[in-house]
C-alpha cells in the first residue's frame, strides 16, 4: 500500500473554557487518509468533527499528538489543504468571481489567469451566470457552491468539507451531493467530508470514520464498496445505513 497523504497519530485536543473547565474534544485519534479517497467523518453534534478538521487545516496548532501531511509534520495552514466551512464564509464585499479567485490571488497569479481559473470552476459548479452577483444576492445553496468553487480554484491536494450542506433543505442537499461526486470524479481530490447525516456519509464516501462524543474518539472505520452512483433503494445501502444508525444509537445510550 502507498503512503497516506494525511496521517494523524494519537491526536488529542482539550479546550479550556472561559470557566477554566477542560473539555476533551478529541481523544486518541489515529487516522490514515489515502490519496484520492473520499472519506466521511460521521458523528453526533459536538463530537469534535469541526475541531478535527480545524487541526488538519492548520488553523489550530494547540493540540497533542502529530499530524503528518505527505510525510511532513503539519505546521501551518497552506493552500494545498483547502477547506469549505460549516458556516458561510464568502467575503460579502466581493462579488462571486472575485471571491472564487481569492486563492489564486494570494498565490500571486496574474489577473487574466485568475479570471480564467475562476470561470472554469464557476462553470463546474454551474454558477457561471452569476459571476457579478454578490453573496447576499445568492441562496444558501448557491453560496455554498461558490465556496466549493473557491476552494477548488486553489487546486488543493486535500479538500476538507465541514458539513457544507448542513444548512440546506433535503432536496438541494441531494442535488449538491450528486454535483460534488461529479466534480470529484473529474479531478479526484482527496476529500475529508464531515457530516452528521448517516445517509449523506453512505451516499458519498469510500470510507466512513464514525466518531462518538465526549470525549470525541473514533468508534469505527468502515469501508463502503458499493458502486457509484449509489441507489438509496439498494438493500445493501439500507443495511449499511441501519448498521450505522444502530452504532450511533447504542453509543448515545451508554
Amino acid at each position: 500500500m502507498n503512503n497516506p497523504i494525511l496521517n494523524l497519530s494519537d491526536v488529542r485536543k482539550t479546550y479550556l473554557t472561559e470557566k477554566k473547565e477542560r473539555i476533551n474534544a478529541l481523544d486518541r485519534i489515529d487516522l490514515d487518509i489515502f490519496e484520492n479517497d473520499f472519506v466521511c467523518i460521521l458523528g453526533p453534534s459536538g463530537c469534535g468533527k469541526s475541531t478535527l478538521l480545524r487541526l488538519v487545516a492548520g488553523l489550530d496548532r494547540d493540540y497533542q499528538g502529530k499530524i503528518f501531511y505527505k510525510g511532513k509534520l503539519l505546521t501551518s495552514s497552506s493552500h494545498e489543504i483547502g477547506m469549505v466551512f460549516q458556516e458561510y464564509s464568502l467575503l460579502p464585499w466581493r462579488n462571486v468571481i472575485d471571491n472564487v479567485v481569492l486563492g489564486p490571488e494570494f498565490l500571486g497569479k496574474g489577473k487574466r489567469e485568475r479570471i480564467e481559473i475562476g470561470m472554469q470552476y464557476l462553470r463546474l459548479v454551474g454558477l457561471d451566470a452569476y459571476t457579478k452577483s454578490y453573496p447576499y444576492e445568492l441562496s444558501g445553496g448557491m453560496q455554498q457552491r461558490v465556496a466549493i468553487a473557491r476552494s477548488l480554484a486553489n487546486d488543493p491536494q486535500i479538500l476538507l468539507m465541514d458539513e457544507p450542506f448542513g444548512a440546506l433543505d433535503a432536496h438541494t442537499r441531494i442535488l449538491l451531493q450528486k454535483e460534488l461526486l461529479t466534480i470529484w470524479n473529474k479531478n479526484r481530490k482527496t476529500i475529508l467530508f464531515v457530516t452528521h447525516s448517516v445517509d449523506e456519509a453512505v451516499y458519498l464516501s469510500d470510507r466512513i470514520v464514525v466518531m462518538s462524543a465526549s470525549p470525541g474518539k473514533m468508534l469505527a472505520d468502515i469501508p463502503v464498496d458499493m458502486p457509484r452512483p449509489r441507489k438509496r433503494s439498494d438493500p445493501a445501502y439500507g443495511a449499511l445505513v441501519t448498521k450505522l444508525l444502530e452504532m450511533l444509537e447504542s453509543e448515545a445510550k451508554t
Partner: protein
C-alpha cells in the same frame, strides 16, 4: 403629488422655526437679544465682505476648516493604525485599552490649561524656515494647541470604531483566507481592512463631527485671531448678535456638508453591509 408632499414634509419644521424667529424678533425688538432674519441674511448673502474688522465669513471659515483638517488628519493617522493593531492583537489591546480608557472621558475642553502650558502660542510656523511671507502668516494662525484640542476630539471616536470594526470581523472569513494560502499581510490587506472599513469610515465621520464641534473651544484659546469660533466670541463682545448667529449657521452648514460627503461614501461603497446576513 407625492413629491410635493415630501418637499412639504421637509420644510414644515424649518418654516415654523423661521416664523417663530421672525415673530419673536419683532416682539422683542432688541437686536442684541435676537436680531431679525433679514439682518442675518444680509451677512450670510455676502460672505466675502469684511465683518467688524475681523475678515470675512469665508476667510474665517477657511482658516477654521484648515485647522480642523490638521488636527483631524493627525487623529486619523494615529487612531486607525493603532485601532487596527488593538483590534487584531489581544496583547496590544490589553496594553493600550485601559490606559487610553482613562483619557476618553476627559472632555477636549478640559485639556485647555495643560495644552496652553505645553504649547503656549506656538504654531505651525515654528516648522517653517522663514519668518515672513504669506504662508508664514497663514501658518502662524494654526496654533499647535488648537490642533491638539481638535485631535483629542476626533481621536477616540475613530479609535473605538476601528477597534470595534476589526474585532467584529468574523473569524471564518480570516480562517477561510488562511486555508486559501493567504499570509498575514494578505489577510490584513484583503480581509481585515475591507471588512472593518464600514465601521472605520463611520468612526471617521463621527470623529470629523466631533472635531468640528471642538473648533469653537479651540478657537477660544489665547492667541487666536481668526476662525469662525473666534468670530462668534468676538462678535459677542461687541454686541453683534447677528454676526454670532451668522457664524453659528455657517458652522452648522459646513458640518452638514462634511457629514454628507462621508454619508455618500458610505452608501456608495458599503452597500453590501446592509444586506449582509
Amino acid at each position: 403629488m407625492k413629491k410635493t408632499f415630501n418637499i412639504l414634509i421637509y420644510f414644515t419644521i424649518p418654516a415654523i422655526f423661521l416664523i417663530v424667529w421672525m415673530y419673536l424678533a419683532q416682539s422683542i425688538g432688541n437686536k442684541i437679544i435676537l436680531p431679525s432674519i433679514e439682518d442675518v441674511l444680509v451677512i450670510m448673502s455676502s460672505p466675502g465682505t469684511s465683518l467688524i474688522g475681523m475678515g470675512s465669513l469665508i476667510d474665517n471659515i477657511t482658516i477654521s476648516i484648515i485647522r480642523v483638517f490638521c488636527g483631524y488628519v493627525l487623529a486619523v493617522c494615529l487612531a486607525i493604525p493603532l485601532g487596527m493593531l488593538m483590534g487584531y492583537s489581544p496583547l496590544t489591546f490589553k496594553l493600550f485599552h485601559y490606559f487610553l480608557g482613562l483619557f476618553r472621558p476627559i472632555p477636549p475642553l478640559a485639556w485647555v490649561p495643560l495644552v496652553l502650558a505645553w504649547f503656549g502660542v506656538s504654531s505651525l510656523a515654528m516648522f517653517y524656515p522663514f519668518e515672513s511671507g504669506s504662508l508664514y502668516v497663514y501658518l502662524r494662525n494654526i496654533k499647535l494647541s488648537m490642533i491638539f484640542i481638535i485631535f483629542i476630539g476626533a481621536f477616540f471616536p475613530i479609535l473605538l470604531s476601528t477597534i470595534h470594526g476589526v474585532q467584529g470581523v468574523r473569524t471564518t472569513l480570516i480562517e477561510s483566507a488562511r486555508t486559501l494560502g493567504g499570509n498575514e499581510w494578505d489577510i490584513f490587506r484583503k480581509i481585515l481592512i475591507p471588512a472593518a472599513a464600514p465601521s472605520i469610515v463611520n468612526g471617521m465621520r463621527i470623529g470629523l463631527g466631533v472635531a468640528w464641534m471642538c473648533l469653537v473651544s479651540a478657537e477660544m484659546l489665547p492667541g487666536s485671531i481668526s476662525g469662525v469660533g473666534y468670530l462668534i466670541i468676538h462678535a459677542y463682545t461687541v454686541a453683534r448678535t447677528d454676526v454670532v448667529i451668522a457664524g453659528m449657521i455657517s458652522i452648522g452648514i459646513v458640518g452638514v456638508l462634511l457629514d454628507t460627503i462621508f454619508k455618500a461614501v458610505e452608501t456608495n461603497k458599503f452597500s453590501w453591509q446592509k444586506k449582509y446576513r
